[in-house]
């Protein structure tokens, strides 16, 4: 029993790490540009499928590095061509636009790569269990947690230490002042969007190895990411991270005792948080 619970907690932690990685990207974009990117799941799927297509040529590690970058480039282009036009208009329009994009991405991946689930190659040495007692601790799972941790630390370093990151954080608080101080806000928003999409692509590459590769991979992960943001608090990236891990572990534990409520439990958590703290666990009052 202990082992079963441990297994599910660990599993939940991994899934939660995916939610967090995706939610961090969504948060970045939402904080600076006020856009809910419904197409985030679509970008995730694109990242996963690009990695699948690239791995035969450049190997697993090459795919892990190149696919998210390519996804980010697609993100930069989409922002430049479509989303940029909608800044300053009612948020409804950017919502609808990304909503349409999500449809196009899902159907597009289905059109290009087919509707059936594809096998995703992970190096064999990563798949063997590390210990006979804790059979679920395969190298790949540990590896995923590690990569997510590296990505999150990297993100916080970028935001905390680099000029770009400081500008993004400043823009989140007061974009107008940042603009007046001579920062090109258009480029800033563009790069910020790309950074968010990079995280989605990375999550896609990792998730493909665990959840299997199918066109709906993105749309099944996006709603939990919303919940992660709401639970953690809109406007707070550490909150988003916390929210993702929390709902992942909560649904992991629920799987043990009441499997049919695996998904519902995170929405119950969300309702509870909203009742007690309407702006999320680490969110600030008055930001939204």
């Amino acid at each position: 029993m202990t082992q079963l619970i441990l297994f599910n907690v660990f599993n939940g932690l991994i899934v939660g790490a995916f939610y967090a990685l995706m939610a961090l990207g969504l948060s970045l974009i939402m904080n600076l540009s006020g856009v809910i990117n419904f197409a985030h799941g679509g970008f995730l799927a694109v990242g996963a499928y690009l990695a699948y297509s690239l791995i035969p040529y450049i190997g697993f590690w090459g795919g892990l590095i190149v696919a998210p970058l390519l996804t980010a480039v697609i993100g930069l282009i989409v922002e430049r061509v479509l989303i940029r036009r909608l800044y300053g208009r009612d948020p409804l329009y950017s919502l609808l636009l990304t909503f349409g994009l999500a449809f196009m991405f899902e159907d597009g991946t289905r059109f290009i790569w087919g509707a059936q689930s594809l096998p995703y190659q992970v190096p064999a040495w990563l798949l063997s269990p590390l210990s006979s007692e804790f059979f679920f601790l395969t190298g790949y799972r540990l590896f995923m947690v590690l990569i997510v941790a590296v990505a999150v630390v990297g993100l916080f370093l970028i935001l905390g230490r680099t000029r770009l990151g400081i500008r993004i954080r400043a823009g989140t608080l007061d974009l107008e002042t940042v603009s007046v101080l001579g920062v090109n806000v258009r480029i800033l928003r563009n790069l910020n969007f790309g950074l968010g999409i990079y995280l989605a692509g990375l999550a896609g590459v990792l998730a493909a190895g665990m959840l299997g590769l199918q066109p709906t991979i993105g749309s099944s992960l996006i709603m939990p990411s919303f919940v992660a943001i709401i639970v953690g608090g809109l406007g707070s990236l550490p909150g988003t991270l916390l929210g993702g891990l929390l709902i992942g572990v909560a649904s992991g534990i629920t799987t043990v005792f009441f499997p049919s409520a695996t998904e519902a439990v995170m929405y119950v958590m969300m309702a509870a948080v909203l009742l007690v703290r309407p702006h999320g666990l680490l969110g600030e009052e008055g930001r939204f």
Binding site: I36, P91, L95, L97, E106, F111, F226, S260
Partner: protein
């Protein structure tokens, strides 16, 4: 002043003329009676959403949840409790309205994109309940084994079960009641207050209007009307599946409202008509209709953000 009122009455008269005569000419131009019924039902859903979106200025993206609850309410009632269409519709509407009323207080303090995100996330709870509770709802396969029942009015029985045209007019009567209530509310001081909140929430607050409470009431009314639409939708298909509750359905309602024109009462109905016909045509032509629907969203946002009626109104004004 008189001219504007005149226009408004003409619009209402034209819409009703269109709706009342539709079953008689729809087949002639290549449609089928179910298509007309679907336009009216989804039009009601989009108009209910617009009560909130266009008139209160609150960005709800989760209306599919209450639409689906109305649908499941009627399906489950007829299947398990009472084989009566009327009771089913009432139960479905009550379930959707109560769910909306309960969730309301949790969300009325939020605004803008945050409101949209929370409403859409809450909608997913009902999706997963319908999806997972296989023994009662049929899970992913949907709720089958029931159908709409003839309506007994006492002096006569209306066979909406087999007569598609009778069912259309049944739907239209319910539509008239729901939209009539909404139009009446929007004309009342309450409705004017909602528009004031949309235009300038802070000022409304300073005038002493309890804004959160008004939004909660508007939200609940909107949920009530959309669950009526959901109940009718289930009756139309004699079937409910979890997709009626899925978040993508909410997006369809929003695009219908935007496409028709959010600032007008009848706009969403016109948006629904265009959307339903387009989707029907695309899904018969290509397997990749989802891409085209997505592209349609993008094009509407980029080129027709005011909607059909918005454009017409602008033409008339200039």
């Amino acid at each position: 002043m008189n001219g504007i009122d005149y226009n408004k009455y003409t619009a209402t008269a034209v819409v009703w003329l269109w709706l009342l005569t539709m079953p008689f000419w729809l087949n002639a131009i290549g449609g089928y009676s179910e298509l007309g019924t679907r336009v009216v039902v989804l039009g009601l859903a989009a108009m209910s959403l617009n009560f909130l979106l266009g008139y209160t200025g609150v960005l709800s993206f989760g209306h599919a949840a209450y639409f689906g609850l109305g649908a499941y309410g009627v399906g489950l009632t007829i299947r398990y409790l009472v084989p009566s269409t009327g009771v089913g519709v009432i139960v479905g509407t009550l379930i959707g309205t109560i769910a909306g009323a309960i969730i309301g207080p949790m969300i009325v303090r939020l605004r803008g994109v945050y409101f949209a995100m929370v409403t859409i996330a809450f909608g997913q709870v009902f999706f997963f309940i319908a999806f997972r509770w296989h023994s009662v709802t049929g899970g992913d396969d949907g709720l089958t084994g029931w159908s709409r029942m003839p309506i007994n009015l006492g002096f006569t029985t209306v066979d909406i079960q087999h007569d598609a045209r009778a069912f259309y007019y049944f739907v239209l009567v319910v539509f008239a009641i729901a939209t009539g209530v909404m139009a009446w509310l929007l004309r009342s001081p309450f409705g004017r207050t909602l528009i004031a909140i949309r235009e300038n929430e802070r000022r409304a607050r300073f005038l002493g209007i309890p804004v959160d409470q008004h939004i909660w009431i508007a939200w609940t009314i909107s949920c009530c009307c959309v669950s009526v639409a959901g109940a009718l939708y289930a009756l139309l298909n004699n079937f409910v599946d979890p997709r009626a509750l899925y978040w993508t359905q909410s997006g369809d309602f929003v695009i219908m409202a935007v496409l028709g024109g959010m600032r007008s009462f009848w706009g969403p109905l016109i948006g629904a008509a265009i959307f339903v016909v387009l989707q029907d045509y695309l899904s018969s032509q290509t397997q990749n209709w989802m891409s085209f629907v997505g592209l349609f969203f993008v094009l509407v946002v980029l080129f027709f953000p005011r909607g059909v009626l918005g454009i017409i109104r602008r033409r008339l004004a200039s």
